[in-house]
Symmetry: C2
């Protein structure tokens, strides 16, 4: 009477993962060969292969021809970071979300804009600053440049009903992104956040590309005491 609900390759995967996570198979342990595991679970080698392929993709094992698969040393440095959409984040906390576009200006890219977008030559850009509020209290300050060469339709877009970030996700289909997280002190440029000067803040910079073209660069500033980023690394959840 086996559990028919869970597919076999997942059960095999879970069994091996359990051995590794419980310490039964410490790093360096040589995992039984695919054919041996297939015999153990009374199934085809391909089924075991699928399980091992997933474990390798998650970084729990390392596979080598001939010598077989071995348990890898843990690499704690890789974690899935969840950077939520600001609106969703505020509403998840049970607050009313609002935002206000403070400045919206089309200009030829300055030197600083080129650095932010990692552009060599100046192109027209849309520069935006924006204040996000939770229950009418300042929550996050946004400073953004959008390349009008990559997203020309941004020039005539209205951000009355949709924040620039949400608009871009709808407008630019899929993209690669790079995040940079650092700590900064509140200064005059962040007066909209109504903080005591030199309050520590979390600065999240996000650079986005689409088909290798720079799309946008945002700088989000959160008051440090009011916000934290949470990242989880749990091998069993991945895949």
């Amino acid at each position: 009477m086996e559990n028919r609900a869970i597919p076999l390759h997942r059960r095999i995967r879970a069994a091996i993962e359990d051995k590794i996570l419980s310490g039964g198979w410490p790093p360096g342990t040589r995992i039984p060969a695919e054919t041996e595991l297939a015999a153990t679970y009374n199934c085809a080698r391909m089924t075991v292969n699928k399980a091992l392929t997933e474990l390798a993709a998650d970084g729990l094992i390392e596979r080598r021809r001939k010598s077989g698969s071995v348990v890898k040393r843990p690499v704690l440095q890789s974690a899935v970071l969840e950077i939520h959409d600001i609106k969703a984040e505020v509403e998840a906390a049970g607050f009313a979300y609002r935002y206000r576009v403070e400045r919206q200006k089309v200009r030829e890219a300055t030197r600083a804009d080129c650095d932010r977008l990692q552009l060599d030559a100046p192109v027209p850009v849309l520069a935006l600053t924006c204040l996000h509020l939770a229950d009418n209290r300042p929550f996050c300050w946004e400073d953004r440049v959008i390349s009008l060469s990559a997203v020309p339709q941004a020039q005539d877009a209205s951000f009355d009903h949709q924040s620039p970030g949400a608009w871009l996700i709808d407008e630019v289909p899929w993209s690669a992104a790079e995040h940079r997280i650092s700590a900064v002190a509140a200064d005059a440029s962040l007066s909209a956040l109504e903080l005591t000067p030199s309050t520590p803040c979390l600065a999240i910079e996000r650079r986005t590309w689409n088909a290798d073209k720079p799309v946008t660069h945002v700088r989000l500033i959160y008051p440090g005491d009011a916000h934290a980023l949470v990242a989880r690394f749990a091998p069993s959840k991945a895949g």
Copy 2:
């Protein structure tokens, strides 16, 4: 004359990924059925299946029986965060790494320790504070508690030649972790970092479990101007 070096299922995957990332197939687009793709690439359905399974695991497509696979809306919030090992991080930047254990004490868990380890009942813990240096200049302050119930051998461990973090990775085979990143102001407890008071700092807290037992909680404090975390999200790299 096909490229024989790259397996077919990867080429199929790359081709579809390219369509999605370039905007050719915007979110919501219905992807050709597995059998159609198999006909296109003149291969078995299983090969296409493998490619689509990987794309689904990376979150680029969503698969539904009967209706077929569709391109998902991008989810920028998920990114792989690289939290490097401090020694590797310092040495990668070309500095000489050193560390100094400032305090090392075994005690019954205090109320605060229980909160940090998410324990209900107090157990013996090892409390450590540690200063990490790059070229003999303070680089990072570490404040750690280790549950001696989960890792009894920590009681007699020497951290002369290996930092507590590195020792734990060797000692505790595999684990799940949770990271919390926030901004704090430097205060008296961080005097070892030799910072001007109220300098913004990046605080990284990491909680680690092994087989559902709390193992350790670290608080790492980096001077904010000297450090940043970088996370990347590029679908083509994953898997």
